[in-house]
């Protein structure tokens, strides 16, 4: 019996392998995994269930979400315009805290993106087939998170209209070149490479699915549009051969890339001589934190997609449980990193380092540290219980708490290290102003607007990959329903 050949409903999933007693080659037991797609779906059902949302007029629920996201985006546009007009004085950054909410938001959003690449590339290389249900939406999340993140270093420059000076090209300013010894120059390369390679990876994965949307289209203009988007994909095996090869290579390239990006982001801090920043633990600590926060955001989005778009047969409880396990593991690693930092502050014997960490946990920003530690290191411990890992409400709440906790982690790193430096005479405090808050909220508006548009116009699940992990015995359509009528069959759940 091949894996995934069983037909199960979503409610019958247990998260344990199915034991077939006496079916082994020597009469022993055989364990096979539970199916990745539940409800006995056929290939034609997959097309219908996933393409439906791009073919119908949007639901009222979608419009409500979109209106909310769009108004938040309006807040972003307005506050960015005012920021450019009025200057950095409207924000909270000032001596001694010269890096404020913009850097916090930048690291937060870049971190969110990392789970998408991890799911699409690392889990692909490890042959984790459950990734097929979630990789498309997670990769889209990566792209939109990188788009949000990209805003912040630019506005943090203060004079955003000079942002192109960061790009090394022959110019009429001297010529003036960037300093390749600076992590800020490395950042430009890391973030733009990350954005472009993620886009290439995402689009390569989309090609066959755009062809599916095209082939289901009834309106000639819709057919033309998706045909152009899919580059007239035919599904020939000459094409699949190159496609498989390119997809594997992109996964292999994106895997070290995802680790390099947050490593380089951490160098922005670690190459300085500020106590609390100048540590070698930062690269792995940032990468793990990024994956942790990204998985929290994936769980948030998948919970919403399961409910709103009725995709429970594709994003099953088993998928959610797998993500909960990763969340718990990375949460413990993050907690371990927090503790290691304290150990090193004590073990190094450095007076400044020791002070920064005492001040971090018990100083005036103790509440930020408390939120961070509770949400990131303690709350995910609830996933030791299987029932909690499979409870969608708990998952959703924990994912939100982790998102909050990870924002505060960056707040703690940026603010507590800067606000009390070597000279007590130059100590100070930092607070976000209303414009800092407006831009933070606005960036969520941009993220959700892009995501909501994505779910309307593109297939939210990688159709061709999901079909590949279904058993043909279950998934093929009966010969009797050959013909176009098959696509219009009512749903049998």
């Amino acid at each position: 019996m091949s894996p995934y050949a069983t037909v199960m409903d979503d409610s019958q999933l247990t998260g344990q392998p199915i034991v077939l007693s006496g079916k082994g080659p020597f009469g022993g037991d055989v364990e096979i995994p539970e199916p990745l797609v539940t409800g006995g779906k056929k290939w034609s059902d997959v097309d219908r269930d996933i393409c439906l949302h791009t073919e119908q007029f949007p639901t009222k629920r979608w419009w409500i979400c979109f209106a909310a996201a769009l108004s938040m985006l309006g807040v972003l546009v307005f506050s960015l315009a005012y920021l450019l007009y009025a200057g950095m004085g409207i924000c909270g950054v000032n001596g001694p805290v010269g890096w404020g909410s913009f850097i916090i938001n930048f690291v937060f959003w870049i971190g969110i993106g990392h789970a998408g690449t991890l799911i699409s590339a690392v889990l692909f290389l490890f042959r984790q087939q459950w990734r097929t249900g979630i990789n498309r939406a997670a990769e889209a999340m990566t792209l939109f998170a990188v788009a949000c993140a990209g805003i912040f270093p630019i506005i943090h420059l203060g004079r955003a209209w000079f942002a192109y000076w960061l790009v090394p090209y022959p110019n009429a300013r001297g010529p003036l070149w960037v300093n390749f010894n600076s992590p800020l120059a490395w950042d430009i390369f890391a973030i733009s490479t990350y954005g472009l390679v993620s886009l290439a990876f995402w689009y390569v994965g989309l090609l066959p699915d755009l062809a599916t949307v095209r082939d289901r289209a009834t309106h000639p203009w819709r057919k033309k549009l998706y045909n152009v988007l899919s580059f007239n994909w035919t599904g020939s095996h000459r094409a699949w051969r190159h496609y498989e090869s390119a997809y594997m290579i992109l996964a292999a390239l994106a895997t070290p890339l995802v680790f390099s990006v947050h490593t380089i982001v951490s160098f922005d801090f670690a190459t300085s001589v500020i106590p609390g920043w100048h540590t070698t633990i930062f690269p792995p600590y940032f990468v793990i934190g990024a994956i942790f926060s990204g998985f929290a955001m994936v769980i948030t989005l998948m919970s919403l997609m399961r409910g709103v778009f009725n995709l429970k047969n594709y994003i099953t409880l088993n998928h959610m449980e797998a993500m909960a396990k990763i969340l718990m593991l990375t949460g413990m690693l993050v907690g371990f990193a927090y503790s290691t930092e304290f150990f090193m502050a004590w073990y190094s014997g450095s007076e400044w380092e020791g002070f920064v960490f005492k001040n971090r946990a018990f100083g005036p920003y103790w509440w930020a540290y408390f939120i961070m530690f509770t949400c990131n290191a303690i709350v995910p411990q609830i996933f030791w219980w299987k029932s909690m890992r499979r409870n969608t409400v708990v998952l959703f709440v924990v994912s939100i708490l982790v998102n909050i906790g990870m924002w505060f982690e960056r707040y703690v790193i940026v603010v507590t290290s800067l606000h009390r430096d070597f000279l007590p005479s130059s100590w100070g405090m930092y607070a976000l102003t209303r414009w800092d808050y407006a831009i933070l909220i606005g960036s969520f508006g941009l993220f959700f607007t892009l995501f909501l548009l994505f779910v309307r116009v593109l297939p939210v699940i990688a159709i061709s990959e999901v079909k590949g992990v279904m058993d043909p015995k279950v998934a093929r359509s009966a010969p009797s329903d050959a013909g176009p009528a098959a696509a219009a069959r009512p749903q049998e759940v």
């Binding site: 390369f189 035919t234 020939s236 051969r241 498989e244």
Partner: protein, 182 residues
Amino acid sequence: MRTEKSPSGPWGVMASFDSPGQLLSAIARAKQAGYKDMEAYTPYPNEEVIEALGHHHSKVPLLTLVAALAGGCGGFALASWVSMQAYPMNIGGRPLMSWVAFIPVTFETTVLAAGLTAAIGMILLNGLPEPYHPVFNAPGFERASQDRFFLCIEATDPKFDSKEARSFLSTLHPIEVVDVAP
């Protein structure tokens, strides 16, 4: 390939199946019967079908390797040239050629060149975007991206005769056999 077809006949003859297993055995039978120019169109890739059709080597890995080396050398060369020639900066007497600091940029340009080449190279090697392809003339071909597995014997095959090919394909228990208009 399309230029070699006879002006009046079909571009090929196409049979459809409802599972990759049937497609595989059909390919094996067609090879036994002596057909060479054939192609399968399926909703998702299948390694065995790729091998059965004799599509072995993709040039994507080679192209990517070349691009990766070029990107890496280019990134490192840019950083070195800028730091040593174009804009030397003496910061506390540190060496201008501090190559360790150029590694992050070198890595990123390597991945950027390789990644874009893999994606764009794949599209171009497939001959995409291709505004017109005869297979779309086959009735019911829209299900090649949904739930049908198509095998097309192309008119360029030396053994090709549209009637013979059609009757041969009908013996493989297909769902349907159709002519593909050129």
